[in-house]
């Protein structure tokens, strides 16, 4: 891995982490566990199309790890990890068949997969299927937040086209 690459990844992680921390400060409009905009995933979606699978995993897991340390909520790390794992796996397959122009589609499906992953972890962790009741809500909000982060990522890509390596 070249120094340039490491720097690029570190930069992306830092941006993601910053967005993540800032988003924590935004009061959650919908008081449903697991529902949030997930703005940090703008970086994830971007990385999907500009880095290798391994690099994307690194960025995301570094962000989650540091995010829960800085965010002061280590206990929820498993939910994030479970969601991220399913989401990343899904998008890594999708990125081969979906053009970068339609990145928002990937983003939506990624967000939905993330939510499904979270629910699976929650069912295992809390040892109750009661939390599945949230799945429909999470699907709806996953679509919305996925479309939103996807649109943001699209704009980002359009603007930083010249910068990318």
């Amino acid at each position: 891995m070249s120094v340039k690459k490491i720097t690029q990844l570190a930069l992306l992680t830092a941006i993601a982490l910053t967005i993540f921390i800032v988003e924590l400060k935004i009061p959650n409009l919908v008081p449903i566990p697991g529902v949030k905009l997930g703005l940090a995933n703008i970086v994830t979606v971007y990385a999907m199309y500009h880095c290798t699978a391994k690099e994307t995993f690194l960025i995301v897991f570094a962000r989650i790890l540091l995010g829960s340390v800085f965010g002061g909520n280590i206990s929820t790390i498993f939910y994030s990890l479970g969601g991220a794992l399913l989401c990343l796996t899904g998008i890594l397959i999708l990125r081969h068949i979906v053009n970068e122009k339609y990145i928002w589609i990937c983003s939506i499906i990624g967000a939905v997969l993330h939510n499904i992953g979270q629910i699976i972890v929650a069912v295992v962790m809390m040892k109750t299927t009661a939390v599945i009741a949230y799945l429909p809500f999470l699907l709806v909000f996953g679509c919305i937040s996925g479309a939103f982060t996807g649109a943001c990522a699209q704009m980002l890509i359009n603007r930083v086209k010249n910068l990318s390596t």
Binding site: N28, P31, I32, P33, G34, G71, G72, N73, S75, T76, Y79, L94, I97, V98, N99, Y102, I105, I108, I109, V112, A122, M125, M126, K127, T128, A130, V131, A133, Y134, L135, P136, F137, L138, L139, V140, G142, C143
Partner: protein, 121 residues
């Protein structure tokens, strides 16, 4: 281009399924029995209609949630987790939205409506 269309339709379908599911859950009737579950174990079953005002403290590995029953409505009034989503969720209203405290592995939900509507005697 075809794949793109298929995927867009998939997204719309997911959205619709979620929407219909949400609506169904919101409109679904529920019992008056509430279960308080922690770590998969049913700690309490409370009949809201018959229960008086009460405050229940539930501890989990050093942290705690304080549950309040006030005028036959149940809510979490205090929790020492960082996000306090369970407190913000307010009163338990529908079976669609159980009160969940992820860090403390606590779930407050309406019992499944396997319950009967009335008793013939």
């Amino acid at each position: 281009m075809k794949i793109k269309n298929v995927l867009i339709i998939t997204c719309i379908l997911i959205f619709l399924v979620g929407l219909i599911g949400s609506l169904w859950l919101i409109f679904k009737s529920h019992s008056q029995k509430v279960q308080i579950i922690q770590n998969g174990e049913v700690l309490y079953i409370i009949e809201l209609e018959k229960s008086g005002d009460e405050t229940i403290e539930i501890k989990y590995q050093g942290s705690k949630n304080i549950i309040q029953i006030d005028n036959h409505k149940i809510s979490v009034i205090d929790a020492d987790c960082p996000d306090k989503t369970c407190v913000k969720m307010g009163e338990l209203k529908s079976s669609a939205a159980p009160i969940v405290c992820l860090p403390n592995k606590l779930v407050i939900k309406f019992a499944e409506t396997d319950d009967i509507d009335a008793e013939v005697k």
